[in-house]
C-alpha cells in the first residue's frame, strides 16, 4: 500500500512539475512572428528572425547585474514582479519604446522595441519572453538585435529588503555593435538600466541607489560570427528610415492615381 502511495505521490509530483514547466517557459519557435502590431510601433527586424542567445553573438560575453533595494514592508518580491510585468514600458527611459504584447509579459510573446541610439539613430527590433514566473521573467533577443543574449528581471527578499534586479547576459551581436559598445555603448547601457531600476524604485516611493556589477564572462570575440552583421537591426533600420521619402512618394502617387 505504501508502494502504491509512493507511486501516486511521484506521479502527482511529475504532473505538477510538467505543468509548471509548460506554464513558465516559452514553447519552441523556429522563427519569430508578431501577431498584433501595437499602434505607433514599427515592426522591423523581428518577424522571421531566429532567437540568438549569448552563444550566438560576436563580442566578448558580459554579465551585468543591476540591483536596487526597497523596504520589504513597502513591496514584496512577488508584488514587485507583478507590477514590473504590468508596467514594464512605463519604467523605460525616455526616447525608447517597449511595445508590450497585448496579452502582457507571458512566455512566448513577442514585444517590439523602438529605440534611440547615440546620434539620434532610430533602431527597431524586438524581444521574446523566454520565461516568466511569479518572481522573475526573462527576455531573449532575436538575430540583428544589438545584443545576442537575454535579460532576467527578478526580485528576492534579502535581509528584510526586497531586491529588484535586472541581469543581462550578452555578447554584442556583430563587429559594428561591438565597436559601439567599446566606444561608449557600455556606459549608455549601464545608464539605461540604472534609470529603469530607479524608475521602479520611484514607483514604490523610494529613492534608492542602483548597484551595478559587471563581469566579463568570456574575453574572446567569436570571429566566426562576424557575418551576423547581415542581420544588423541598425543597418536595416537606417535603410528603412532612408527609404521613408521614397515610400511616402509612392503612396502619394498611388493615391493620386486612384483619385484620377
Amino acid at each position: 500500500m505504501d508502494g502504491m502511495d509512493d507511486r501516486t505521490v511521484e506521479n502527482t509530483r511529475e504532473k505538477q512539475v510538467a505543468a509548471r514547466d509548460a506554464t513558465y517557459w516559452a514553447k519552441a519557435v523556429s522563427r519569430l512572428n508578431v501577431s498584433n502590431v501595437p499602434e505607433g510601433a514599427i515592426n522591423l527586424n523581428v518577424t522571421g528572425k531566429r532567437l540568438a542567445g549569448p552563444i550566438q553573438g560576436f563580442g566578448k560575453m558580459w554579465q551585468k547585474t543591476y540591483q536596487v533595494s526597497l523596504p520589504r514592508e513597502r513591496v514584496s518580491p512577488m508584488d514587485l514582479i507583478a507590477t514590473w510585468k504590468q508596467r514594464f514600458p512605463d519604467f523605460w527611459p525616455e526616447g525608447n519604446s517597449f511595445y508590450a504584447p497585448l496579452t502582457g509579459i507571458e512566455p512566448g510573446e513577442v514585444a517590439l522595441l523602438n529605440m534611440t541610439l547615440p546620434g539620434k539613430m532610430k533602431l527597431s527590433t524586438g524581444v521574446m519572453v523566454l520565461y516568466a514566473d511569479e518572481e522573475s521573467f526573462t527576455l531573449m533577443t532575436p538575430q540583428g538585435h544589438m545584443f545576442a543574449g537575454w535579460i532576467t528581471f527578478s526580485a528576492t527578499e534579502v535581509d528584510g529588503q526586497t531586491v529588484a534586479q535586472a541581469q543581462v547576459l550578452m555578447r554584442a551581436s556583430d563587429p559594428i555593435f561591438e565597436l559601439g559598445l567599446t566606444l561608449g555603448g557600455h556606459r549608455q547601457e549601464d545608464r539605461f538600466w540604472n534609470q529603469t531600476l530607479t524608475a521602479v524604485a520611484d514607483h514604490f516611493g523610494e529613492f534608492a541607489e542602483v548597484d551595478t556589477q559587471v563581469v566579463c564572462v568570456d574575453k574572446r570575440r567569436q570571429w566566426s560570427r562576424w557575418s551576423n552583421v547581415w542581420h544588423s537591426s541598425a543597418i536595416r533600420s537606417t535603410g528603412y528610415m532612408m527609404g521613408a521619402p521614397v515610400r511616402a512618394l509612392r503612396g502619394l502617387t498611388r493615391r493620386s492615381r486612384m483619385a484620377g
Binding site: D5, D6, T8, V9, E10, T12, R13, Q16, V17, A18, R20, D21, A22, Y24, W25, A26, K27, A28, V29, R50, L51, A52, G53, P54, I55, Q56, M61, Q63, L130, Y131, D133, S136, T138, M140, W150, T152, S154, T156, Q167, L169, V217, D218, K219, R220
Partner: protein, 125 residues
C-alpha cells in the same frame, strides 16, 4: 498517504571521473541558488585538465532561466579552455528549452552517459 508538495531543492553536485572525462552529476533545482555549487563543481571537475566535461541532468529538478544562464557561463568558461561540454539525462521539456535558447548549438545532448562518454572521446581525438 503523503502529500505531493512542490518544493524547491538546493542543488548539490557529485564529480566523477571516467578515464580522461569528468562527469558532474547535478542533483536538485538549477536556479540562482545553484551558482556557488556549480562554480565549485566546475573548478573541481577541470582541476586535472580533463579531455571533456559531461553534465548529468538525470537528478536535476526544475531549471529556471537563471539556471540556464549559469550553464551558459560554464560553456563560456569551457570554450575559453577549449574543453568540450556534453550533456545527458535531460527531459524532453528541457531538451526543448536547450533548443529554444540555442544552448544545443554548442552542447552535445546525449541520451545516456555511455553515449556522452563516447561523444567526449570522439571530440577529444
Amino acid at each position: 498517504m503523503r502529500e505531493a508538495t512542490m518544493t524547491t531543492s538546493e542543488m548539490s553536485t557529485v564529480i566523477r571521473r571516467r578515464d580522461r572525462v569528468a562527469v558532474i552529476d547535478l542533483v536538485g533545482d538549477v536556479n540562482a541558488r545553484a551558482e556557488d555549487s556549480l562554480d565549485t563543481a566546475w573548478a573541481e571537475a577541470t582541476r586535472e585538465g580533463p579531455d571533456a566535461v559531461i553534465l548529468n541532468f538525470e537528478g536535476a529538478g526544475y531549471i529556471n532561466s537563471t539556471g540556464i544562464a549559469l550553464i551558459v557561463g560554464l560553456l563560456a568558461r569551457a570554450r575559453a579552455r577549449t574543453i568540450p561540454i556534453l550533456a545527458y539525462g535531460l527531459t524532453p521539456h528541457y531538451r526543448e528549452i536547450f533548443e529554444i535558447t540555442r544552448l544545443a548549438d554548442f552542447l552535445a545532448i546525449n541520451p545516456d552517459e555511455d553515449s556522452a562518454v563516447r561523444g567526449a572521446e570522439r571530440s577529444s581525438t
